[in-house]
């Protein structure tokens, strides 16, 4: 079965980078659903408009795991504007391609990242208008996440 995936895909699948969750995440993005077989969750920490830290968790096939892992490497340290420019297609290219059948369903990492960035921006607007520190909410969010069984 190895042959259906490139060496890069197998490398990221077998040795995934940046697995887990970010403490006090500033933005969280989740895409997919369990019934179709892929869920990706990306959490980011933003400092000076740059992605200071990024972690992922993925339920899915090797392609889903490899694309998640790859995107964390591609955007770490990048500005949000740069990071937003990454497309699912670019992630697949960075992995040396994906089997055609996997291009659609398992290649959602860029969507998850965009959602995380949007979440970050939304939280900032919220906290700006309400006067609360955005980290308060991020903190309670990730804590609630961890507290669940």
């Amino acid at each position: 079965m190895d042959k259906m995936y490139t060496r890069e895909v197998m490398d990221h699948f077998l040795n995934p980078r940046n697995v887990g969750s970010v403490e006090n995440a500033d933005g969280v993005g989740e895409v997919g659903n369990a019934s179709c077989g892929d869920i990706m969750r990306i959490e980011i920490k933003v400092e000076d408009d740059k992605i200071a830290d990024i972690k992922f968790q993925t339920f899915g096939c090797a392609a889903a795991i490899a694309t998640s892992s790859m995107i964390t490497e591609l955007v770490k340290g990048k500005t949000l504007t740069e990071a937003e420019k990454i497309t699912n297609k670019k992630v697949a290219e960075a992995l040396g391609g994906l089997p055609p059948v996997k291009m659609h369903c398992s290649n959602l990492a860029a969507d998850a990242l965009k959602k995380a960035i949007a979440d970050y921006r939304e939280r900032r607007i919220d906290s700006d208008s309400s006067g609360h520190n955005l980290f308060d909410r991020a903190d309670s969010d990730s804590k609630a996440f961890k507290d669940k069984p």
């Binding site: 079965m1 697995v19 369990a34 990706m40 968790q57 339920f59 899915g60 090797a62 795991i65």
Partner: protein, 389 residues
Amino acid sequence: MKLVYLDHNATTPVASEVLEAMHPYFREDFYNPSSIYSPAQKVREKVEEARLKVARLLNAEPSEIVFTSGGTEANNQAIIGGARANRKKGNHIITSAIEHHAVLDTCLRLEKEGFEVTVLPVDQYGTVSPESLQKAIKPETVLVSIMYANNEVGTVQDIKTLAHIARQNGSLFHTDAVQAVGKIKVDVKELGIDMLSLSAHKFYGPKGIGCLYIKKGVKVESLLTGGGQENKMRAGTENTPGIIGLGRAAEFILENREEMEKRIRELEELLRQGIKDRIPDVIFTGHPENRVPGCVSVCFKYIEGESMLLLLDQQGIMASSGSACSSKSLKASHVLLAMGITPEIAHGSLRLSLGKDTKREDIEYVLEVLPGVVEKLRAMSPLYRRGDG
């Protein structure tokens, strides 16, 4: 690296006895059994001898055995040929939700030709209830096709009772026994069925050969036209090495099945218990008792099957899954879904199927490797921590 093959429901290695029996018919005795000269007639005798062996395995008459290219062709032949030949009775076909695609898709093809198809549901264990067949069957029902044993979960149906219902109604009864023959005792007379499909490579015979049992007197329209081989039921020069291999495999099963079944069931129990003891949040699928030996079908919550297969492959373990990602259709197994298993659970399915050469050490090795594989993927899964997989 240690290699452990636990995908015997996909295919089995050819037994040495079988390979040896086939060998002469590629070169020395390559003759066409339809030719008139004596060396060719000797091959004809061997083909008929193989037919007798297959008949003996099924408790059928040799004249009731039609060699085909395998299970898929046998299923196509039975369903299309059976429905077309008996169309005057009606245009209704009944099958079940957990059939192999060789049956399901063939029924759908007939639906396009104007047949009405009823697909019977199954319960949580994958069993078709006789009551549901009784309810669905009607005077126009030409054919009922229900599989003997399921390839994914191993559940064995009560074919005798189901066939009885069909017979009372004057409908033909066909069973896809590809996963049953070689694993459990199959007796066509005792079952009271009209047609049965089998495939040699599922029980240590070669690929590309199988047969359809057609009870004497049952009308079936042949799918192929040509040289009139197989009593005009299957045109095309006989696959003589394949047929002789199938015959030898049938003999092998007659001689060894009971002993094999006992050994395989013991190892299967060791595997099931070992998984239960070592890994939390697992769901075994299939019937708790009525199962073919050697089929362990299990869903691991929070993770996906293809990832599991690839990690197991890294450690030399060969298995299969009903997950969407490991299929070409990108849909979770229709069998598991029909059994009421949710798609997210079905995505985490793993099928380990044991065979005659499976050893205790193989099972121990799997039990050593599998918990780590599951743990590694669960650690990555967003569902695991939330516990809502």
